[in-house]
């Protein structure tokens, strides 16, 4: 049993308090004349920058920190120890798919011929890169059951943007770009933001009593002005739209398209294919389903897959097999929406995702999906007696509870999430999807062992008990972190977005009063 001054009484089986190092900003450690670099001597004649650049010469020097190499290593290593990470334990953020990021992915992405490849190096010196792109495309087409794919988009939202531009270009080719995009109220915020950026009005669709698409309600709003429905499947409450074929039919009857947000594809790989159940265009998140690292918020990669009739609208350039039997870059796609990013996309992420697919093979991919769904259902089973289950429809890869029972004692989902930190876990996704008031959205992924799941379940059950018996300890959590809850209001009202203070050159005053015992 652990006890703190706050009356902390939980039994944290997973963690023990441990010292971490304090570390100021790099600017505050800087002192003039220190160097962390050494350039090779200049082997060409020296130049006078002012003579070459004239008025375009920089007069001042930017106030970048001046530090030695060991200090830089310690600086960033210390910062790193303040982070939670998948490598430390379960990271059950719903809809984020925080799965293991295999290290062989990192290794192969750094091979010299891959890491040092310039995007404009001649085609005949880029065949290896093109072969990787081709194989990844073929694998993703097979996995999604679609007909064509573009890998360029740099993230999920960028993929949505690409997919919706294609949708628009398709309708335009039929003479009318149409006006609206229908988006369920359970959708991720990027969906409406994307539709708006493609010039569409957003029509919100209220979910039915099971948290899914209300097909009758959908039929009422779909008309000749509807460009598409943007649908996340499984939905953000982790439920497969079992009437997906009816949804597709309702849309197709009016000439509208079914766009699938593939954020939750980790529930489907190897078990079913969007291309088979009526999806016209979709994006994948390689940084979710295909194990490329989240890196604290990117880089991502959001390929867009589509049916054959949309292929002419895919972005350029693309890898095509030439008459010579070799792969070439082509921009011969006259109806393309154009270029969505310079060069070819986040190639380094293609390499990692392909390494993941090769490590899994067909059997591994299917087993991965099954384990992800198994884990979510296990958590559901073990927690459904203490947390409210707003929808009792079968869960796929994630389970969504609500704080309905805890809120009676003044405990909200955000409090439970913060308390989970004290037990050694990253919080689940809070307050999302919006259709569930006080949502706890839990996605364990396949990467968790039964032991880790049991520790998580134990923590969640203890917190539920604390919410009954000692709500203050939950409301004031976390108690074990370097800092407690931050003042976000002041951060937004009086934004401080960069460091401006003076560099701290003074040596620390030795405390002469200190004694040794």
């Amino acid at each position: 049993m652990a006890t703190t001054t706050n009356g902390f009484v939980g039994t944290t089986r997973k963690v023990t308090a441990h010292l971490t190092q304090n570390e100021p900003l790099s600017f505050e450690k800087s002192s003039p004349g220190k160097k962390g670099y050494k350039l090779a001597p200049l082997d060409v004649p020296e130049i006078d920058p002012a003579a070459l650049l004239g008025a375009a010469t920089r007069e001042d020097k930017p106030a970048l920190p001046e530090l030695s190499e060991i200090e830089i290593i310690r600086h960033f290593t210390r910062l790193s120890t303040w982070n939670y990470a998948i490598d430390l334990g379960m990271y059950p953020l719903g809809s984020c798919t925080m799965k293991y990021n295999p290290r062989v992915n990192e290794f192969v992405s750094r091979l010299e011929g891959i890491a040092e490849a310039h995007p404009y190096q001649p085609e005949r010196l880029s065949r290896g890169a093109m072969v990787i792109i081709k194989l990844l495309k073929d694998c993703l087409i097979e996995i999604t059951g679609m007909d064509a794919i573009a890998l360029h988009p740099a993230a999920g939202a960028h993929g949505e943007f690409t997919g919706m531009l294609m949708t628009r270009a398709y309708h335009q080719s039929k003479g009318n770009p149409r006006k609206n995009v229908i988006i369920p109220d359970s959708a991720h915020g990027t969906n409406p933001a994307t539709a708006a950026s493609c010039g569409y009005q957003v029509v919100n669709l209220k979910s039915n009593a099971q948290g899914g698409v209300d097909v009758a309600a959908l039929a009422k709003v779909v008309n000749e002005d509807t460009a598409a429905l943007m649908l996340t499947n499984p939905s953000t409450i982790g439920v497969f739209e079992s009437e997906i074929h009816k949804i597709a039919d309702v849309l197709h009857d009016k000439g509208a398209l079914l766009y699938m947000d593939g954020a939750n594809m980790n529930a489907l790989v190897g078990k079913t294919r969007p291309g088979d159940f009526g999806v016209d265009v979709m994006h994948l998140n390689l940084h979710k389903t295909f194990s490329t690292p989240h890196g604290g918020g990117g880089p991502g990669c959001g390929p867009v897959a589509c049916k054959q009739f949309l292929e002419p609208f895919l972005p350029v350039p693309f890898v095509a097999l030439g008459d010579d039997g070799l792969l070439h870059w082509s921009s011969d796609r006259p109806h393309s929406i154009g270029r969505v990013r310079a060069f070819y996309g986040n190639f380094g992420m293609f390499v990692r995702a392909l390494a993941y697919i090769l490590a899994n093979g067909p059997d591994g991919l299917r087993q991965t999906t099954e384990d992800a769904v198994l884990n979510a259902n296990y958590i559901r089973k073990k927690l459904e007696d203490v947390y409210e289950l707003p929808y009792d429809t079968p869960s796929m890869h994630e389970v969504v509870f609500s704080d309905k029972r805890q809120v009676k004692n003044g405990i909200k989902t955000g409090d439970i999430a913060k308390r989970l930190i004290d037990y050694g876990f990253h919080p689940y996704t809070t307050s999302f999807p919006l259709i569930v008031p006080g949502a706890l959205m839990i996605e364990p992924t396949e990467s968790e062992s039964r032991e880790e799941l049991d520790l998580f379940i134990d923590a969640m059950r203890q917190i539920a008990r604390e919410a009954e018996e000692n709500p203050e300890v939950v409301i004031s959590a976390p108690h074990s972190t370097r800092i407690s809850r931050l003042d976000e209001t002041t951060a937004a009202r009086k934004p401080v977005l960069r460091w401006k203070g003076p560099a701290m050159h003074d040596a620390v005053e030795v405390d002469t009063a200190a004694k040794e015992w």
Binding site: D43, L64, Y84, G113, A115, G297, L365, P478, I483
Partner: protein
């Protein structure tokens, strides 16, 4: 499968506890006709050594041990070893977007340092946590200017990276604004290779939301930012400066007159990696804060008064504002921004200048040497580390000859600038050696001398 931490017995036990008899009982929500009853047709499961062999074989089909003079928005600079050591720490690599500030202070403080460094380099007041890359960043900057001004005319210099312009047009097509391109001064003009200021002056009007230029521009020439800013501001338009080569800021005057700066930070320690992932970033004057897309990290305090960092001003963003957000961007390039942050910390205040000066020196030497045999276009205008060479020999043939000696020559510009006949864009960085430059010059000169003798 080696990534999956369960034994068959554990799976069976868990199914029993859930109360189902087989795993397929958990997939019954999928209508039967859509269930995949066969194996996916992807390569069979491979061992780790096989995966490495596969990628090694692919890597060997790419350029290997070639000297390269390619730049054009993707630059080969030295990447200090500690960058990779640090970003491969799992605490950075396998962490999510820092929404839970108490357990992501490491990422948050690093981003705060990044924002500060970008402000210092660009001369702007604020910078965001990153964008996808320089091309999409420039497109977002244009949309931001349209929101700020409430105008819909966009003017883009033809000297902006051609692919950046293409991306901007893709983004702009349904925003209701019109983008027009502005020509550059031809060779021989006193300001050759820079945006045509008379043409710009004529094009800017009361409907112009912004002027987008790149500096150093696609030809490597540094634009006259103060004059361009004056022309834009006179009519109430914003000036957006795109910077594709971040290292230039060590010696090139920052575009302080700009309203928004869109930068590609790939040069700061990020591998070329066949075009990505790179790292865009937007910086701006403080008054445009509320229209800034993307994530921002701010400093604040916890209840005990301790300093901490937090994602802030998220009411601009899609997860709060949905269709009214400033952008749909969510995931950005955090880990790549961290690489850039470490790079900037390694070089620091003095090193960034020393590095930039070395680049300038190498390119000056290369341009002078190549220019002695062939024509250096826009030679009188100030430039950083790229230059345009016009040869008598068609670039395709010239580059084929260079390739025989394992040299990748300048980028053929005929696709984008057919008016510049036989022009190639060359780049030299601190990694380009005198020996490499001399070797390339010797090969280029063979034909030049021959044609001169004719």
């Amino acid at each position: 499968m080696r990534y999956l931490p369960k034994s068959p017995a554990e799976r069976a036990a868990m199914l029993r506890e859930i109360g189902v008899s087989s795993i397929d009982d958990l997939f019954t929500a999928i209508p039967e006709e859509y269930r995949l009853m066969r194996d996916l047709k992807v390569p069979r499961q491979m061992g780790e050594s096989e995966i490495i062999d596969y990628f090694k074989a692919a890597a060997e089909k790419n350029a290997h041990a070639y000297t390269s003079f390619l730049g054009a928005g993707a630059y080969r600079h030295y990447r200090p070893v500690i960058i990779d050591s640090l970003v491969q720490r799992g605490e950075f690599l396998t962490s999510y977007t820092p929404y839970q500030a108490e357990i992501t202070q490491g990422t948050l403080q690093a981003i705060f340092e990044f924002q500060t460094m970008i402000c210092e380099l660009t001369g702007m007041d604020i910078a965001n946590a990153s964008m996808y890359d320089g091309s999409t960043g420039a497109a977002e900057a244009v949309m931001m200017a349209v929101r700020v001004t409430g105008r819909d005319g966009v003017l883009v210099a033809k000297t902006v990276h051609p692919e950046y312009r293409e991306v901007m047009h893709t983004y702009a097509q349904h925003q209701g604004h019109e983008a027009r391109e502005v020509a550059y001064y031809p060779d021989g003009h006193v300001q050759a290779g820079r945006i045509d200021l008379e043409a710009l002056e004529q094009a800017v009007n009361e409907e112009t939301a912004c002027v987008l230029v790149q500096s150093p521009n696609f030809f490597g020439v540094i634009e006259d930012i103060p004059v361009i800013a004056e022309i834009a501001h006179k009519k109430g338009a914003l000036l957006i400066v795109s910077i594709a080569e971040a290292v230039s800021l060590g010696i090139v005057r920052p575009p302080v007159e700009a309203d928004i700066v869109s930068m590609e930070a790939q040069s700061f320690g990020v591998a070329l990696s066949y075009g990505g992932p790179y790292c865009g970033v937007l910086a701006a004057k403080e008054k445009y804060l509320r229209q800034m897309p993307g994530r921002l990290v701010g400093e604040t305090k916890d209840k005990e008064g301790r300093r901490g960092f937090v994602l802030t001003l998220s009411t601009r963003e899609q997860h709060i504002r949905r269709e009214k957000a400033t952008s749909n961007i969510c995931t950005n390039q955090a880990l790549v921004a961290l690489m850039a942050t470490i790079f900037m910390t390694v070089y620091g205040k003095e090193g960034i200048k020393e590095l930039a000066v070395q680049n300038l020196a190498k390119a000056t030497y290369a341009a002078d040497a190549l220019g002695a045999h062939d024509k250096l276009l826009f030679g009188q205008s100030p430039r950083f580390h790229e230059f345009v060479l016009q040869t008598e020999e068609p670039p395709r043939r010239l580059n084929a000859r260079l390739m025989e000696k394992k040299i990748i020559g300048g980028l053929d510009l005929c696709k984008w600038y057919p008016e510049l006949k036989n022009a190639t864009l060359w780049c030299a960085t601190e990694l380009t050696t005198k020996e490499q430059i001399d070797a390339a010059v010797a090969i280029v000169a063979e034909i030049s001398v021959a044609s001169a003798a004719r």
